[in-house]
């Protein structure tokens, strides 16, 4: 293909990527170094609000943003360097907690609390997703041809359900006297409150995530299973290899590139864990990095929002994903080089 044709084919998507991925990213990156704020003046104002029969009037000092001649709020933008990152990371507090060995103090600082959960969540669900995915794919592969279609369909169902809906259903099944909690209570004959401490919520979140993502891993692995060299398998059987040995020495090495692929996708996805926090309304116990960014962005009743800290927190999340991806990427790179 000559360069012209190549450019004509690739051009539009490169343009789209620049516009919709690169530009917002750079914009967020820039915003994390600046703070834009209205200029306030303090004025004394009398405000009257309704009581029941009479009005209550109070006179007080309030901060009011200055308006320009068009009635727009005057704002100023200031370069603050890494201040927003410092506000998110709270390094002094974190360092004090670490050097005193007070891990419980460290885990009450928002960013570190979120990082702790996000990492545990990501690293615990990863092997479970791979394991369950492999299991389901082998199961599908061994199912009789006649029922294979329905089996694939049923095992894919959890992946099709919209995440927020899935989380909410789990929430309602277990919340308060939800059906499943009530069942557990009669079975164990004791009162159970699954949403009253952090660890039970975290387990529910992980179970949900594995349930949701395992089908995706399974379908990818199932595709890989179709290309396993049947001759090697047969000779292994003749050599007296057990089912487990065949799996370990032939099937898994063959699937390795796919396992790395699924791991990378899962690392990226679960590091941005968010739906679970919102759906379980678990902010009191457990928060994630993505939720932290969201919380900075949501305006409060008076309309304030923390754009700069949200940008900084978003950049930190991205850096975290990149660091996590270095390990599987290095492996792929080595394999790639080794192959030539």
């Amino acid at each position: 293909m000559n360069f012209r044709t190549f450019a004509a084919f690739v051009g539009p998507s490169v343009f789209m990527m620049l516009l919709f991925i690169a530009y917002p990213l750079i914009s967020v990156f820039m915003q994390s170094f600046y703070i834009t704020q209205p200029i306030y003046e303090t004025v004394e104002i009398e405000t009257c609000t309704p009581g029941f029969l009479t009005q209550t009037c109070i006179t007080e000092q309030v901060s009011q943003p200055k308006l320009d001649e068009h009635g727009e709020i005057i704002t100023q933008t200031e370069y603050v360097g890494l201040q927003s990152y410092r506000n998110v990371l709270e390094p002094e507090r974190a360092w004090r907690a670490i050097s005193n060995g007070e891990w419980n103090v460290l885990s009450t600082i928002n960013f570190w609390k979120a990082l702790r959960f996000t990492l545990t969540f990501t690293l615990i669900t990863l092997p479970l997703v791979i394991g369950c995915g492999l299991g389901i794919s082998v199961l599908i592969n061994n199912a009789a041809r006649a029922i294979r279609g329905p089996v694939i369909f049923v095992s894919l169902l959890p992946f099709i359900i919209t995440p927020v809906i899935g989380v909410l259903s789990i929430n309602w099944l277990f919340r308060g006297d939800g059906i499943l909690t009530a069942m557990l209570e009669t079975w164990l004959n004791r009162d159970i409150a699954l949403f009253a401490q952090a660890w039970t919520i975290e387990i529910l979140m992980m179970v949900y995530r594995v349930w949701h993502v395992a089908p995706f891993a399974a379908i990818v692995f199932y595709a890989g299973l179709q290309t396993v060299n049947q001759d090697s398998l047969e000779s292994a059987v003749i050599d007296g290899a057990t089912r487990w040995q065949r799996m370990k020495y032939i099937v898994i090495p063959h699937l390795m590139p796919l396992i790395i692929f699924v791991s990378m996708i899962h690392l990226m996805d679960s590091y941005r864990v968010f739906e679970e926090i919102v759906g379980f309304s678990s902010q009191g116990y457990v928060i994630s990095l993505q939720w932290l960014t969201y919380d900075f962005l949501v305006p409060d009743q008076a309309g304030n929002r923390s754009i700069s800290r949200a940008s900084a927190s978003a950049m930190l999340t991205m850096i975290g994903v990149v660091i996590l991806l270095i390990f599987p990427l290095r492996r792929t790179w080595r394999d790639h080089k080794g192959g030539h």
Binding site: T47, C48, P50, Q55, I73, Q283, A302, G303, N304
Partner: protein, 403 residues
């Protein structure tokens, strides 16, 4: 009721054709409103629609849309529904207009306390007030010979008795859901103790004895609450009441009618509305109002029509038809037993919610930070100090505290 809402829906869809119902005039200026979506707003906007040429957006996320929508020129909505807190961003941005001239022209039937005045100018027309106050199961308390609780100590004592008698395992309900709800509970308690949120230059002043007292009382209550209290919002508490699981709660007046809703409630007629429990200084509650505002960025003709339509929305017919949906500010409102709690709280000196820019940030910081104390991760002073630090960071970023 069903027939009526059907008819109103019909009226709305035919509005453009000029089919209007109980409206004193025929509105020929196209008007739109954006407000919260609870029952009272539905009643008011339905009544506005009777005038024709009007469409209402009832949206739970209205507060995120309103500032931008009103800043547009021309404004995307002519009429806005706000509460004392959501008024602040509109007021700050100057996107709502004073309506003194219109009040003079059309507002003869308005009560003087409906006029929300800021710096002498009428900026909003209030239609209802709302407050959290004590609701309790009169039958349960009477059976055990317990008097109506007047303070939170009484509430705790009553809860202990109910639990001891084995009537209920968790007699207290409260809106302790992390975030806005939990922040609001602290605001109630802290104001009840006579605390001040801010000092000179918007600096926070909550780390004091009153703050600690408020926190300790909240913690003491959780002993008698369902252990999943950090996910319990107003609807959840309402349902706990309706299902007979709790005996006492400091709940919103707007939820009172649901206790006697035969379709949902198993405790019809058994829930009494009383004043909010007293703190050391004032009742532990805050008074809120809801009302309408009018955009700056519209023509005077539109403003004229919008004002008249809005008044139609909160006229006496509407109030009579929906008497129990809210504590209305209207001469036609007959304050029944359901409003007794809110009225008694006000009489005992309940304060208005101290809405302001800094308070918005403080409320968020409280809502996010208090859970650490209730779960036992931090002690009271550390919690309050951390909330102050969190507030200071956010307020500096917003420009409310100078560096």
């Amino acid at each position: 009721m069903k027939l009526k809402s059907l008819f109103m829906a019909g009226a709305m869809s035919l509005a453009a054709g000029g089919a209007w119902a109980d409206c004193a005039f025929e509105n020929d200026v196209p008007l739109k409103s954006l407000s919260a979506g609870f029952e009272a707003w539905k009643a008011v906007t339905d009544a506005m629609a009777e005038c024709g040429n009007f469409s209402a957006s009832l949206d739970q996320e209205f507060r995120e849309k309103q500032p931008e929508a009103f800043a547009a020129d021309p404004a995307l909505y002519q009429i806005g529904g706000v509460s004392n807190a959501t008024l602040v961003p509109l007021l700050n941005a100057g996107t709502i207009r004073p309506v003194d001239d219109l009040v003079e022209k059309y507002g003869q039937n308005l009560l003087p306390n409906q006029l929300i005045k800021v710096d002498g100018k009428t900026m909003a027309i209030a239609m209802m007030v709302n407050a959290q106050h004590l609701m309790y199961r009169s039958d349960v308390l009477a059976d055990l010979g317990i008097e109506e609780p007047k303070s939170y100590d009484d509430v705790l004592a009553a809860a202990a008795k109910i639990k001891e008698a084995g009537v209920m395992e968790y007699p207290i309900g409260a809106t302790f859901k992390t975030g806005w709800n939990l922040g609001q509970e602290f605001v109630n308690m802290y104001l009840g103790e006579g605390g001040e949120f801010f000092g000179e230059g918007n600096m926070p002043t909550i780390n004091n004895d009153q703050g600690v007292a408020a926190l300790e009382m909240m913690k003491a209550m959780t002993e008698y609450m369902d252990p999943e209290y950090l996910v319990s919002d107003s609807t959840y508490v309402q349902q706990q009441f309706q299902q007979g699981k709790i005996a006492m709660a400091n709940l919103w007046a707007s939820r009172a009618a649901a206790m006697n809703d035969e379709a949902e409630s198993q405790v019809v007629g058994k829930v009494t509305m009383a004043a909010a429990p007293m703190g050391s200084v004032a009742p532990a509650t805050t008074v809120w109002w809801d009302g309408v505002v009018f955009a700056t960025n519209m023509s005077d003709e539109e403003a004229d029509a919008a004002f008249r339509v809005a008044l139609e929305g909160m006229d006496e017919d509407m109030v009579r038809a929906n008497n129990d949906a809210a504590v209305w500010l209207s001469p036609a409102y007959s304050a029944g037993e359901l409003a007794a709690g809110a009225a008694a709280s006000a009489e005992a000196g309940a304060k208005a919610y101290p809405a302001s820019g800094p308070m918005g940030i403080m409320h968020t910081a409280l809502g996010n930070g208090l859970a650490d104390y209730l779960t036992g991760a931090k002690d009271a002073q550390t919690t309050l100090a951390d909330i102050e630090a969190d507030y200071t960071t956010a307020a500096k970023e917003a420009g409310l505290i100078s560096n």
